[in-house]
Amino acid sequence: MSPRFTPKVVTANALLEGDVVYLTADDRWSREHREAELIEDEAHAQLRLLDAQAQRQVVVGAYLAEARPGPDGPEPVHFREAFRTRGPSNYAHGKQERHV
């Protein structure tokens, strides 16, 4: 039996600003992880990744990142993905700038 598929989100960097973006269920690119489409099915994940990679004038380097459901929407699992939702830890730059 193959290992159970762990839920994913599609993430990338915006072409012009480089900012981290997430693919939403209604085909937008959101700057917020919690707005991402949480994909629970592997075949659907591959299709959504293809959709993302086709948008080569909008985003760069789309990939599937592990995520889990949370009270406000999907949450990152790995610490790297958690940092990507915020920005660096030495200055309040990046996304956390807008959150304060």
Binding site: N13, E17, V20, F79, R80, P88, H93
Partner: protein
């Protein structure tokens, strides 16, 4: 300082124009990312974790006040008001937008700077001793040779697609401040039996995944043969280096797979072929370049303001740690620390860059250097001006008296910025520096090099730190491996792994145990950590790092 020739100027402007068009074609969809990526890397533009990053070359770490002010202007106009100086004497801007990069490159060209060959599988920015031209212990200024290498390697048609990146470091002093033994080619100036200067040529050093100390392929190479010999090394590597596996593609692996003796012979054979093709043009060019690196017009003035100021303890502490002997006894080399405890190692705000530019212009013969240890150097300051320089640095938050001490930490950007990183480096550096500052221990500890990398690529030089820290991802958690006994100087050594890694929160207490053990073990305050480690071996230091193991063994 070298000033661009018409050729340099036209070349850099043309490259800006080319890249501006490439950016436009990427944005309008004519270029895919796969097509654009190698083009942007050739021009120093990376896509990192949160944003693009532009790496700007500071050739051999030298710049003047006008260039430093332009970096400040770029930081304010197109970035977030600061820049990050790197272990390869470059500056990185962490937040440029793709659409702004052509304007940034154009602004750089206005002050004879560029971002060419700061990435990609090419010959990268040549690094040099940051005290070049000023050090009391120097044989000769290595910067003219570094500039010759810059001109020769820039857009060199044969070496634009090497198996892997290629880094050259050069020092004019027997004391190696340029980590020449850990570069693809290290050039260390030495004298022959007749006293003529030449180079010890070291090949195949490097850090990263496979840390190796370089091999001396030529104990003495006459200066006039340098370019032909470097070309021979590159040309042998270009043919032999592996392109099938990027982890085995650096020349250090080529050297080990081929054998040092065989590779040395191939280099010598190729050198014999190439040497005749060098008809002296390179030496004529070198003579022109050399003229641009003339000594500044040193001032004759009393030095007693400095001697009087030494009565002030804060000034004295700064003078003791941050000043270095200049070849002119009335002058000093000033090291400006970008490591105030709690600060991000290597970061300078635009205001600090402007302050440094003003100080260099007023008191420093308009020269600035960036060190591979991520600090700024004022290479020529008259001793009579030192109190004024100290006061100006203090006003800019740049008077930290900690050069060479435990808080003067090298740290790569790590997972706070870098897309390759496996863990964070910066907050570890900040926490260690803050802890030892709070303990007021760093002057008692004395000379100590802590170097931190956020991944195995070792941009933070952790292998050659007296204490090295390597951040890894262990099953989805940040974990830090400690190495001991590394050395970046002419007595270069790769540090040895101490044992199992530490969790993020355990690193500072572990370093504190290590340092306290050293203080208890040293014979006298003059015995440095590295000397004590070499005398005692790793056992007592490992025991301090892993007390639970010691307790278990004792039970």
């Amino acid at each position: 300082m070298y000033k661009y020739s018409d050729f340099d100027e036209a070349f850099v402007r043309e490259r800006v124009a080319q890249f501006s068009q490439q950016v436009a074609r990427r944005i309008d969809g004519s270029l895919t990312e796969d097509e654009f990526r190698p083009l942007r890397l050739m021009n120093g533009l990376y896509l990192q974790l949160h944003a693009y990053m532009l790496r700007v070359a500071i050739p051999y770490g030298s710049l003047d006040s006008r260039q430093m002010r332009q970096l400040a202007h770029i930081a304010d106009t197109w970035d977030k008001g600061y820049g990050h100086f790197t272990t390869r004497q470059n500056i990185q801007f962490n937040w440029p937008k793709l659409t702004d990069v052509p304007a940034i490159l154009s602004a750089l060209a206005d002050v004879q700077m560029h971002a060419i060959q700061t990435s990609g599988n090419t010959i990268r920015n040549v690094t040099a001793d940051h005290f070049a031209g000023a050090a009391a212990d120097e044989i000769d200024d290595p910067r003219p040779i570094a500039e010759l290498l810059r001109q020769w390697s820039t857009d060199h048609p044969e070496f634009q697609f090497l198996p892997r990146k290629f880094k050259i470091a050069i020092t004019g002093s027997p004391h190696d401040r340029a980590v020449t033994r850990a570069h693809d080619i290290g050039l260390r100036m030495v004298r022959d039996a007749d006293g003529a200067p030449g180079f010890e040529v070291i090949v195949g050093g490097g850090l990263g995944r496979t840390p190796l100390i370089g091999h001396v392929v030529r104990p003495f190479l006459p200066q006039a043969d340098l370019l032909a010999y470097v070309e021979a090394v590159l040309s042998v590597y270009n043919l032999l280096g592996r392109r099938d596996n990027k982890y085995k593609a650096r020349i250090k692996i080529t050297l080990h797979e081929t054998g040092a003796a065989a590779l040395t012979q191939m280099i010598e054979d190729r050198f014999a072929e190439l040497r005749g093709a060098y008809d002296g043009t390179d030496q004529r060019l070198l003579a022109q370049i050399r003229a641009a690196f003339g000594r500044p017009a040193f001032r004759q003035a009393p030095t007693d303001p400095h001697e009087r100021a030494l009565a002030n303890p804060a000034y004295r502490a700064w003078a003791d740690t941050n000043l270095v002997a200049h070849r002119n006894p009335d002058y000093a080399i000033v090291q400006v620390s970008l490591k105030a405890p709690g600060a991000t190692p290597g970061d300078a705000t635009s205001a600090q860059m402007r302050a440094l530019a003003d100080i260099a212009e007023t008191y420093g013969h308009d020269e600035l250097r960036i060190s591979h240890e991520q600090n700024v150097i004022l290479p020529h300051v008259h001793k009579g001006d030192l109190p004024a320089v100290h006061a100006a640095l203090k006003a800019a938050g740049l008077a930290a008296a900690n050069i060479g001490l435990i808080s003067d930490i090298i740290a790569c950007p790590g997972m706070d910025y870098c897309s390759l990183a496996t863990a964070r480096s910066i907050p570890i550096a900040q926490a260690i520096a803050t802890r030892f500052h709070d303990l007021d221990l760093e002057h008692e500890v004395g000379p100590m090099k802590i170097k931190i990398s956020g991944c195995i690529n070792a941009c933070g030089h952790h292998h050659v730190g007296h204490i090295g820290i390597l951040g890894l991802d262990r099953a989805g958690v940040e974990n830090y491996q400690i190495t001991l006994g590394g050395d970046a100087t002419e007595t270069a050594a790769i540090g040895e792994k101490a044992g199992p890694g530490f969790a993020y929160d355990e690193v500072v207490p572990a370093i504190e145990r290590l340092v306290r053990a050293y203080l208890a073990l040293r014979l006298e305050p003059g015995e440095t950590f590295l000397t004590a480690f070499r005398r005692l071996g790793p056992a007592p230091f490992k025991a301090a790092l892993y007390p639970e193991e010691r307790d278990r063994d004792a039970a």
